[in-house]
């Protein structure tokens, strides 16, 4: 009976999805027809002729995420930061990460050692090219955070201490990312209070009644104003947030439990 319910519900949801994507054309016939809203974003994402409206980024998704709907992404980041802070608060007083376990076999450890530099290179390139090619800060952050899982599983939890990663350093880097995002958001406010000119929070380029603008290019390289700074800062914040969470999760229960129950049991 239970099997039948599972099979029927899967069949029904697949049929509904197939109907929605093909016959009903919810995706616009698999993206062959471009809707008006999409056309607007594609026109404005990179358009040097419309400097007051464009995000100056050939990567439309990043242009939308950090410019057209930038405040939305900012608040997502704030929610993420609060969630990480809450997790850290639960683990307060937990002993330092380390001790116990020798990790997996030599073959796995050597292969992982070769993969980690490649992983770092890919993550950094996803972050700094986030305004040019698919990707961005969050994508790069989770790509880098996979290293923490590799370290915990392949080399065991004590490897964090061995390679010089400790909790306070990771939290410092994570916070640096969030502070950098705030700095980019408030930069127009500082400009405005120093010069007296009008500027908007999270402003990227010149607007109809504001001259404030982040540089579009540095040494001939397109950096798309605030977008590269947001991507790099989000990269730091997200990667090291996940890093600290996986460091704490890899602690053994019997090591953590005394610290977690310490206060209510009065010890």
């Amino acid at each position: 009976m239970r099997r039948a319910i599972v099979l029927v519900s899967i069949a029904v949801s697949v049929a509904l999805l197939a109907y929605a994507t093909s016959v009903a054309g919810a995706l616009g016939n698999l993206g062959l027809e471009t809707r008006a809203l999409a056309k607007m974003f594609l026109t404005l994402a990179y358009n040097p002729g419309l400097r007051e409206l464009t995000a100056m980024s050939p990567e439309a998704v990043t242009a939308i995420v950090w410019d057209f709907r930038g405040v939305d992404t900012l608040y997502e980041t704030v929610v993420f930061y609060m969630a990480i802070t809450a997790a850290l608060a639960i683990y307060r007083g937990a002993p330092k990460v380390g001790g116990g376990g020798v990790g997996l076999s030599l073959i796995v450890r050597v292969v992982t050692r070769l993969l980690i530099p490649i992983n770092i290179a890919v993550a950094v390139s996803i972050a700094v090219h986030g305004h040019l090619t698919p990707g961005g800060g969050f994508q790069a952050g989770v790509a880098l955070a996979v290293i923490s899982v590799l370290l915990a599983v392949v080399y065991s939890a004590k490897s964090f201490g061995k390679v010089g990663v400790d909790e306070s350093k990771v939290i410092a880097l994570e916070s640096a990312g969030f502070v950098a995002i705030a700095a980019v958001v408030f930069a127009p406010l500082i400009y405005s209070s120093v010069t007296g000119a009008q500027a908007y929070l999270m402003q990227n380029y010149v607007k109809a009644n504001s001259e404030f603008s982040f540089p579009v290019e540095v040494l001939g390289q397109l950096i798309s104003g605030t977008l590269i700074w947001f991507n790099v800062a989000e990269f730091l914040a997200v990667s090291f947030s996940f890093f600290i969470i996986f460091m704490l999760l890899s602690l053994r229960e019997e090591v953590v439990r005394p610290a977690l129950v310490g206060e209510e049991s009065g010890s």
Partner: protein, 83 residues
């Protein structure tokens, strides 16, 4: 276009099969691995549907971080579903 549709059908079928295996499997560790295979198939679907940004965030989360979080959790409970 026809190749795209055929690949979409192929990978969604793979995803469907592994979803069913993950739901019906009693050994939780194997269920997590089935779920990761299903996620890989979905990553290909997202790429075919022209969402490379989502692929970049979906792959590390669905194949790396999410199974790892589940495995840490399973490590703190029993390996086999008792329900």
């Amino acid at each position: 276009m026809d190749v795209t549709l055929a690949l979409l059908a192929l990978f969604s079928t793979i995803g469907l099969v592994f979803t069913y295996l993950a739901v019906s499997e009693r050994d939780l560790v194997r269920a997590v691995i089935y779920s990761a295979v299903q996620s890989s198939a979905y990553a290909v679907l997202l790429y075919l549907l022209r969402a490379p940004d989502i692929v970049l965030v979906y792959l590390p989360v669905a194949v790396g971080l999410y199974p790892a979080a589940l495995l840490f959790l399973i490590g703190k409970t029993e390996k086999v579903d008792g329900g």
